[in-house]
Amino acid sequence: MSGDFSENKVDVIVVGAGPAGVSAAITVARGGKKVVLVERGSFAGSKNMYGGVIYSHAAEEIFPNFQESAPIERFVGEHRYILMSEKDSTAISYKNFENKTNSFITIRANWDKWCVEEAVKEGVYYAPDTLVKELIVEKGKVIGIKTDIEDYFADIVILADGVNSLLAKQIGLREDIKPKNVALGVKEVIKLPQEVINQRFGLQSFDGLNHLGAAIELVGGPLEGMLALGFIYTNKDSVSVGIGVCLEDLKTKKIKPYELLEKLKKHPAISSLIEDGELLEYSAHLIPEGGYSCVPKLYTDGAMVVGDAAMLVNNVHFEGTNFAMLSGKFAGETALDALERNDFSSNTLCLYKKKLLNSFILKDLYTYKDVIKTLSSRTGSFLGYYPKKLNEFFSIFTCADGKPKQEKFRKFTLDFFRKRSLSELFKDAIAGIKIVFGILK
């Protein structure tokens, strides 16, 4: 471009100050280039919501000393899985006693704000209260952004504008997500005294001062038969309870998301954990869950798309924030490379995709490409019938009532096959094999 826009022209513009955007911006700033990070909210994090944890490996990549000053609520010391039926529940808990915790729970509004403050310290120009209405494209190349107030120009624009990414859609990098490929997350943050949380969740201290946290996933119960999971995360003096439910399932079953969450909160396995707590905040957000087959075109002349905007989420493992931060870093590195070469076309920006392909991000998404598809075709089984049967088994196993056990187990086994046709069992078995084989092959 000519020098006409020199006042409003920088090397890189990053749209969206979430984990992906801030990682991209700080990477560019560290390379000594001029970068502006724009955010439509009044503060970073104000439009964001998530289901719980940031992964230490990703946080360290961007902020090597984050543990010294970042607003961490609790390091995760326990992963618990609760399989529910209407009247009972079975839980599996994993704890590592060597304190090799690899993730931590944080409040997004605090974490995102902290990240941006760090980025500003390292030279990122930060512009909150700035909505990008559209991208400016000239001769097929993205050359800038149009905001409410004025136009800004850059050699490269990095799109970190989240799951809805209207900007990536504008330039044809992606289409709208289909309702079956997206989950609606609704969540409540409920205030409880720290000691009560430690007690109710059985959380231990690792240094005599700070207590570890629990990341809990909830299957079945009120969520039965839908592609839906519940979650609980223990903050320091509050607890986050929420669900992620397939948008298509809400539509076909005509269920209101907040009513579903209300039902989950009333389940006896959950209600005792949150009783007497006070609602601090209710929130909602979409989660891109289409996986590998829904990853859009990741770059074009003058632009790259990162994080949720690029649908980089592994929903089986609740991983998204780490994908966001590392994809942001890769895009930032690619931008530096392009600035070095003075070539902002796809020829250089394709390096971003190569970096993603060589990393765990696209490798994992590829590994899991069929898992969700297979699972969603059998939700009634894997997220309904089997969790229920598991509870039934334990209710018999743990029951002493003066009646002989053999009869009960025989009835359980006969029912197991009687209430489920052979063809259904066969389909479940095939689906199970498909999932395991799909991951290992």
Binding site: S46, Y258, L280
Partner: protein
């Protein structure tokens, strides 16, 4: 549960901090709403923004309650959807 954990969606939303935009950023095509049978927007919206008034045959849009999630725009192609203006709309303090 007691009123510390309100059950009604309106009471849940009451806890949130909004900077209300002066114009509505959610624009359903009202002629198409009349023909729409399912009115899925009234079900899936996590903030109960959309309500259909049978008597008046009109869809009301309480855009000031919107959480900007985008669920309605994915479920219905007849809603012209944009973000609220710079700095407007919901501001989560926890997230």
């Amino acid at each position: 549960m007691d009123n510390k954990q309100p059950e009604k969606i309106e009471d849940k939303l009451f806890k949130l901090k909004y900077k209300t935009d002066t114009v509505c950023h959610l624009l359903p095509e009202s002629s198409k709403c009349l023909q729409c049978i399912d009115k899925t927007c009234t079900i899936i919206c996590p903030a109960n923004v959309y309500n259909y008034n049978e008597a008046e045959k009109k869809l009301t849009v309480s855009y000031e309650k919107c959480l900007e999630c985008g669920a309605c725009r994915l479920i219905c192609k007849n809603i012209k959807w944009s973000y609220p203006k710079s700095g407007k709309g919901v501001h989560f303090k926890k997230g």
